[in-house]
């Protein structure tokens, strides 16, 4: 038997006897013969030594680059404590906390995670996590639409991948997505006012947006409220160390991706989406929510609550089909925010901010780059270039860097725009080298 399988011949014999059958095949007798006996074209098993060698070959086919790109995935530092704690079997191998008496560990960190998300966003309540920022935004859209309001306005300055996910989710439900035009790198408030009508369920905006620009959301909430439409803000939560919160802007639902809270890049996942909302909308929110209660002895205890919203209770009437989410990544975020704390998160973000502003100011001095927008940004910024973005990336790659995002990837007419992202991990030496390389082009 394989090392993962404990049964001896003798065990099997005894067990079959108890069951009252004579062979293992008898256990599969009801499966039609027509279905059985397929010879699978699969590789034979590898020993651990061989597997390691195989993985060494695979890993050596990857060449991690030092990123100056964000576009939804940012290279922040992961403190060593996090993987160490995440790997504790109590956290890693447990499942959904359906038996709260032996799942207080999971439930407690979910409660702490919810608290931290509400602190960052200023909202009243957070759920236990969503898959990623894009699907969290789509779930927020579902929360907002009603039978008679099936139009959702989306700022054209949203990350195009998030928009793609919204479109995919919207289509089968007959939800109409209408873009609010872009003007000078931000969404056009006049166009929003024009497109807002009695069919509009919600307006979705991302800040900082696809160019890295911080959107000004002054007055938006009032307009939406007057129209009985919901205000959904998708925001990188790490920027909330400094920036005005979704609650301060008057959002009804705040969503985004917590990858920026120290989650490794990992070629795109696992990351973790967050969703937070107002007390008023709490019972409309999808996903798990952990609340506090007491046990029979009066001890404080944590438990999944308001489960009447969920699929395992309500089936087709549930608010969402979400079941497994990104629980362990919620623990990741919770530990990250505990380590960073009040001051550390600000320090990381301020360094990222300073470095991004330094890089931009130096690149702007080069004749080949200019700022087409001149708007406030955080750690990601967009420049117009006379250089070929592909060539920029090729030259930087030769030096081990992942260059800026070419906006032409998303839209042909933006092919002269490139978007850099800088985190606390990028040193002045690295930035100066990039400046030198680009200056020499």
């Amino acid at each position: 038997m394989h090392k993962y399988l404990p049964h001896t011949e003798k065990d099997i014999e005894k067990m079959l006897e108890r069951i009252g059958v004579s062979s293992m095949d008898d256990l599969f007798a009801e499966i039609p013969d027509a279905l059985k006996g397929v010879d699978l074209d699969l590789p034979e098993s590898l020993s651990e030594i061989e597997l390691r060698e195989h993985f060494e070959r695979l890993a050596s086919q990857n060449e991690p680059l030092v990123p100056f790109m964000g576009a939804g995935a940012y290279d922040h530092y992961t403190p060593s404590v996090i993987p160490y704690l995440l790997e504790r079997q109590e956290f890693m191998t447990a499942y959904t906390p359906y038996q709260p008496e032996v799942s207080q560990g999971t439930l407690q960190y979910i409660f702490e995670y919810q608290t931290m998300i509400t602190e960052l966003t200023g909202m009243d309540v957070s759920n236990a996590s969503m898959y990623d920022g894009a699907t969290a935004t789509a779930e927020a859209m579902f929360m907002a639409v009603k039978k008679k309001r099936k139009k959702v306005l989306v700022a054209a300055t949203i990350n195009p991948n998030v928009l793609n996910v919204l479109r995919t989710y919207a289509h089968p439900r007959g939800i109409e997505i209408v873009l609010v035009d872009e003007a000078d790198g931000v969404f056009d408030k006049d166009d929003l006012a024009e497109k807002l009508d009695e069919d509009t369920a919600a307006f979705i905006v991302q800040t900082p947006n696809v160019y890295g620009i911080i959107e000004s959301l002054e007055g938006v909430a009032d307009k939406l409220q007057d129209n009985k439409s919901l205000f959904i803000i998708n925001q990188d939560p790490s920027t909330l160390a400094y920036l005005k919160t979704p609650a301060e802007w008057g959002a009804d639902i705040a969503v985004g991706d917590c990858q920026t809270l120290g989650v490794p890049l990992s070629y795109g996942g696992p990351y973790i989406g967050y969703m937070a909302t107002t007390g008023k909308l709490m019972r409309q929110m999808p996903g798990r929510i952990c609340g506090v209660t007491e046990d029979v002895e009066g001890k404080r205890a944590y438990v999944l609550t308001l489960q009447a919203r969920e699929q395992h209770i309500r089936r087709e009437k549930a608010k969402s089909n979400i079941c497994s989410n990104q629980s362990l990544m919620a623990l990741h975020v919770t530990i990250y925010l505990s380590l960073m704390g009040k001051k550390g998160l600000k320090e990381v973000q301020k360094t990222s901010y300073n470095h991004a502003h330094y890089l931009k100011s130096m690149l702007e001095k080069l004749p080949s780059f200019e700022d087409p927008f001149e708007k406030p940004f955080f750690k990601e910024f967009t420049l117009k270039t006379t250089l070929d973005p592909d060539r920029i990336n090729q030259v930087l790659r030769e030096k081990g860097y992942l260059g800026p995002l070419a906006q032409g990837r998303f839209a042909e007419e933006k092919k002269d725009l490139v978007t850099f992202a800088v985190t606390e991990k990028r040193t002045k030496e690295q930035m100066d080298e990039v400046i030198r390389i680009l200056g020499a082009m």
């Binding site: 990857n62 499942y95 070629y267 205890a301 790659r397």
Partner: protein, 490 residues
């Protein structure tokens, strides 16, 4: 079980403490526009690194995990999560790759993605897979959108209904609704009160019409019964113009034995965190790859990983694709762990997983049917369902048995599901569990059944030894306190 530990990290906070260190930056300070800044700073804890380690270590002690003890949670396949999978997945040459790195610099990780697609397709008898869906329910949502896209591509817009058995997982009807379908329930075969969860074919015939887009099935079903008439059902659904969706939650007992594709299923999802051993993580991150027949391949979500010559490539949204369902390529670090498992198990051991998980379930079932009501007598696959205690003079419930099990360091079965039985206890003892473990479980279950007759109060009070005792769940819902500040307001 560990002692009670109720402190929150916020209650450990002391002003001025910190748990991080950062390099001193030589870059000057740039101003921020005051108008864009938040008024109050986020009230995050101030703790030292060691405070954090000790706190979360103590928090962890309050959880039951599979490495500590038996975890026969039905339909969840709580199998061993091999250490080597974790180790190889942590290589920085996987974890530090940006998702937009040029494909030439990520050939290793793309090879893993590609070969996992191939292996899953071979195991399930389908053409290919997308590994982008993040979890089982996400896979269902994606699969249902593919069903819709298929019908719409044929110009057929009248198919608005999805058939779901009454024994199905809650996610099935929920996913159908999320994907914009109306749910039609098909009944299980029942004799009197006793239903075996298999589909009543006569009822299926009645609900099949030209408005049906497809049917969602788990095979074996949630009672652990294999749908013997699956080939006939597939023909009926296909003849009516519908497609068959396979919920892969219960794939474990047919690995290497029978394939959903050969049964007539057009679309599947597989839970890598169940069948292919990736950690459940307290409820994710999982991975719910979606497989399709050749005919449905154009509808798969983007991005798509393919191979051209010796090079692995990533394609954007094709013209028939349902579109994007994830920001990038899904929970790819989870996929790496499943790939490591698949290569470790290999063709030569795959069938043993099916056999031993089935052997384990039947062994426990036969050993305990003297003490617990067994609604379905036939040979089951990897799991089965009891309907409460057999001899039950004090009217104890499945919940009481479940809570008492906690006192013996064992995780209870899934209770009150499937909905076919009032006192459902769904037991799944995966293939990694030895006869000794099963015997210990059997002994304890018998002891509890005896207690139920002689000492019912103990069961009603159980658990007695866990970090917290039974909870007042109604209080939590009546007065939702969902963040630390809600506790301070009391």
């Amino acid at each position: 079980m560990a002692k009670y530990y109720g402190d929150l990290i916020f209650e450990k906070s002391v002003e001025g403490r910190k748990g991080y260190s950062l390099p001193v930056s030589p870059v000057k300070d740039y101003d921020m526009d005051e108008n864009l800044l938040r008024e109050e700073e986020a009230d995050l804890p101030e703790v030292s690194e060691f405070d954090v380690v000790r706190h979360y270590t103590n928090v962890s002690f309050k959880n039951h995990g599979i490495e500590k003890g038996f975890y026969p949670l039905g339909s969840c396949t709580m199998k061993y999560n091999p250490k080597i999978n974790l180790e190889v997945s942590k290589d920085p040459r996987f974890t530090s790759l940006h998702p937009y790195q040029p494909v030439e610099t990520v050939q290793g990780i793309l090879q893993i993605y590609y070969e996992t697609q191939k292996m899953l397709a071979e195991i399930s008898g389908l053409d290919t897979y997308s590994l982008n869906p993040y979890a089982g329910a996400h896979g269902e949502h994606v699969g249902l959108m593919i069903i819709r896209a298929y019908h719409e591509a044929k110009g057929d817009f009248k198919r608005t209904k999805i058939i779901v058995p009454d024994s199905a997982h809650g996610t099935n009807p929920a996913s159908a609704a999320v994907a914009g379908f109306d749910v039609v329930e098909v009944k299980s075969n029942c004799e009197g009160d006793h239903c075996d969860g298999t589909v009543d074919i006569d009822h299926l015939k009645k609900v099949l019409d030209d408005e049906v887009a497809g049917i969602m099935l788990t095979n074996p079903n949630t009672v652990g019964m294999f749908e013997k008439d699956i080939l006939e059902m597939a023909k009926l659904v296909h003849d009516a113009g519908g497609l068959l969706y396979y919920d892969g939650a219960n794939l474990n007992p047919i690995l290497g034995v029978a394939r959903p594709g050969d049964m007539g299923f057009d679309i599947t999802h597989i839970n890598l965190h169940k069948t292919f051993s990736t950690p459940h993580g307290g409820g994710g991150p999982g991975s719910g790859p979606v497989g399709v027949t050749k005919e449905l391949k154009p509808f798969l979500p983007a991005p798509v990983v393919r191979k051209a010559g010796d090079l692995y490539l990533v394609d954007g949204i094709g013209k028939d694709s349902i579109g994007q369902v994830s920001h990038f390529l899904g929970n790819i670090n989870v996929v790496i762990k499943a790939y490591s498992y698949l290569r470790t198990i290999g063709k030569d051991n795959l069938r043993d997983i099916a056999k031993l998980s089935t052997l384990n379930a039947n062994y426990v079932k036969e050993s305990l049917k003297s003490h617990y009501k067994l609604p379905v007598q036939e040979i089951c696959k990897h799991e089965f369902v009891f309907d409460g205690l057999k001899d039950n003079p004090h009217g104890l419930r499945a919940l009481d048995v479940a809570k008492r099990l906690l006192d013996f360091d064992m995780h209870p079965p899934t209770v009150y599901f499937p909905l076919l039985y009032r006192e459902a206890m769904m037991i799944e003892p995966p293939e990694n569990e030895s006869k000794q473990t099963l015997d210990a479980f059997i002994d304890i279950m018998k002891k509890i059944a005896e207690e139920a007759k002689e000492d019912p109060e103990t069961l009603k009070k159980a658990p007695l030894t866990t970090p917290v005792r039974r909870l007042d769940e109604a209080q939590a819902a009546r007065n939702p306190r969902v963040k630390f500040k809600d506790l301070l307001e009391d």
